[in-house]
Amino acid sequence: MGIPTEHYTRKEKLGGVGCERRRKEDARFIQGKGNYVDDIKLPGMLHGDFVRSPYAHARIKSIDASAALALPGVHAVLTAKDLKPLNLHWMPTLAGDVQAVLADEKVGFQYQEVAFVVADDRYIAADAADMVKVEYEVLPCVSDPHRAMDPDAPEIRPDLAGKMQGAHSARKHHNHIFTWEVGDKAATDLAFSMAEVTVKEKIWYPRNHGSPLETCGAVAAFDKANGELKLWVTSQAPHVVRTVVAQLSGLDEARVHVVAPDVGGGFGVKVGIYPGYVCAIVASISLGRPVKWIEDRVEHLAATAFGRDYHMTGELAADKDGRIKALRVHVLADHGAFDSCADPSKWPAGFFNICTGSYDIKVAYVCVDGVYTNKAPGGVSYRCSFRVTEASYIIERMIDVLAQRLGIDKAEIRLRNFIKPEQFPYMSALGWEYDSGNYAEGLRKVLEACDYAGLRREQAEKRARGYLMGIGLSTFTEIVGAGPTKICDILGVGMFDSCEIRVHPTGSAIARFGTKDQGQSHRTTYAQILATEIGIPSENIMIEEGDTDTAPYGLGTYGSRSTPTAGAAAARAGRKIRAKARKIAAHLLEVSEDDLEWDVDRFVVKGVPDQMKTMKDIAWAAYNNVPPGLEPGLEAVDYYDPPNMTYPSGAYLCVVDIDRYTGEVKVRRFYALDDCGTRINPIIIDGQIHGGLTEAFAVAMGQELPYDKEGNLLGASLLDYFIPTAVETPKYETDFTVTPSPHHPIGAKGVGESPHVGGVSAFSNAVIDAFSHVGVTHIDMPYKSCNVWKMLHALGLDKRE
């Protein structure tokens, strides 16, 4: 090792893109100095709690709040009747439907919000909620989506009676929400009729829940004197909340101030707007005091947006060599009692049409039917970009089913079908233009690192001795960074994102963004992007998000969109700063702009290295010595409308051993190779991958929200809902390839969701692979020991010799 050059040292000092910068968020959190919504305490603040329905489907005959109101410390009990005059008893959903804020004459799911009690503290509010007498007439209920469109199925949404045109399509039944079709049906049917081989499998992706460790909540404070509303809220998208609140309340948007302070995890659950937020606002406006609402864990799991619940039928047509000719998928999507799916407004099934995956499939057809059932509303993307996990799951499962049918190795069949590097940009049969990828390289690297051939040999030997071992592969492609405003909007607001930078006279800077961190490390990584662009050390760049009064408008953080959109805005705003800095430097050095070149943190006169101005010099000059005709100051803002989505990809390999007598699944090895394009901070990337894989493990091995026939949710506490601890969680090996996005200013693609999207299929494929030698092609998740044991028992594999 030689002595580092001066140039190298400067670059190191900058802490820009690619460096392993330690997190800037941590110092506060490890000292208990975070500031989450429930930490906010305002003078005179009251507390809200809900009366919730014990029934899944019932008519409300009467609500008697007199006893509750008589309890000392109770200030109000709001019901739909109180919200009606304000026209706030229903609210629009992101999916173009409406949702009851407080049940209007009837309830459609168990735990639905019926009344909102406001009291001096949360204990009194809970007492009072128990004292509100609600008389119900129980109605027949539909909890099975397959029964939802039966001719005699009970009508879940009488408010929509006679409305045969939904937000996305015609409605063919009173419990039908939409039919969404993509692709060429005729060509697909033809390809199937002519195919040498076809396979078909019914695959359910169970209802689950993102369940971040911090539940949802809000503090609303209405200032009557000025007509201003301030709302602290657990939101991944505070600007959208501001716009929706302004529209709902009729308040001038300039008088609505939304703050998302520290957010204790989101995973998509904190994208939407919940009745609790609206009730806190209404209560604050009507009582003239701040009102806090914090849901408890049971309310969170039972009533706040769930994920998935896709009943899918996948079909592949192929030739005898396993080359896929066509894909056909039908989905029955269970949306619960209201369509509160959090997708871009024009996409009722999100980007499910990414389901051709990493494979060159010439024709495909997808049809999704959304239905109402008497279950909680939701359908948010649990750490996934809009139904991409479901899409990835169906294709990654189906390609395994096809491989088993043909007796082709599961890695080999993938290699035969991958889109090749030279095919990019690649237009998929279902309409997406993939930006870049090198799928075969990734998979080959994984196979070699894990000695795949050796694993298959070991599996064969073990099978011969009666042991169950499974090897799961997942070679997924994600679609993230929503998105181009011409196709992506939330309630009419285009899904751009933004960055605003101010460079101060002494050479430090503050940058604000329209996104909102919930653990993704934006303060750390955005500053790295900016450091590289503007030559100011990341240590001297402050990052702020979440306050709608100060941050530029943006659509928030979900769908792995922060790096692809706001990260791009950062790079572009930084380039605007640099362009102005170049003018100032030319002026200071008395040369033409063309005579200057950029060198890490300074402009240098070409060929005269000691003639230079650092960004620090230039920042100072920006406030006292700018060229004639140029405004003083050094600020820039960029609203970035991405030209396309980005398409991160990965190749995962999972090895499991299954105890044939107990059904216990042990993950022996998990190797995750990700390609997220340009890597901004390897430590943060690894952290995201570890976290996402653990969620994927949770989903595959235990997470579900089961309902009985009466619509009772069977278990809504953390004693029932599986969140793995450090004991169950497997260890992961991580790896990467780098295929930059050609259209992103720094080539980055986003990574937060890849491990969840790709991980679920890898775990699932591994478990099912353990049974492939006895002809099993599919087992639905979750693979709890009892479920796996049932399969072992049914197959007689648990018999002792």
Binding site: G32, L213, I683, L718, I723, Y732
Partner: protein
């Protein structure tokens, strides 16, 4: 043991992070709510209120305990330590906090205060833990973001550092 009458309100005095503090509590007030809302020590978080997630873990007379499963009145006269008391008086992070930061052992930060308190207690009781012991201790906590590996690393690193320091002191 003192008998409490229904509906009574009490003055609860305890030693919070070395400082005597007093507040008012009902019989049923949870220690987690008392700390957060009565004494303003919001570093301790509440994730489930049924004793599973561990976010509310504090140390009562040194032993890690769920503040959401403890009544405020039970803490009368006792020493309660929370995440706010970990750093030194001058704000210097302690070795465990530093190891968490160094190892990227937290993301959203919501579970972290409870985990730090359990680890503090554990490392005093088990100075040279194995990875399995660390994982077993951590199983009293849920983290949705990290996948635990980096937390385990941080705890093992802290244990090793302390061990090395003890060795040094012995030889000095």
């Amino acid at each position: 043991m003192k008998r409490l009458e229904q509906g009574e309100r009490h003055t609860v005095s305890l030693i919070l992070n070395g400082v005597p503090r007093t507040g008012r509590a009902d019989n049923r007030t949870l220690l987690s709510d008392f700390l957060r809302h009565e004494l303003g020590a919001t570093g301790t978080h509440v994730g489930c209120e049924h004793g599973v997630c561990g976010a509310c873990t504090v140390r009562i007379d040194g032993a890690a305990a769920r503040a959401c499963l403890t009544l405020a009145v039970q803490a009368e006269g006792r020493r309660v330590d929370t995440v706010e008391g970990l750093a030194g008086k001058d704000g210097e992070l302690n070795d465990l906090q530093q190891a968490f930061r160094r190892n990227h052992a937290l993301q959203c930060g919501f579970c972290t205060p409870g985990i730090l308190m359990s680890c503090s207690d554990f490392l005093e009781r088990v100075p040279g833990p194995t990875e399995a012991q660390v994982r077993d201790m951590l199983s009293g906590h849920l983290c949705r973001c990290t996948g635990y590996t980096n937390i385990v690393k941080a705890v093992l690193e802290t244990a090793a550092e302390r061990q090395a320091r003890r060795e040094e002191e012995k030889h000095a």
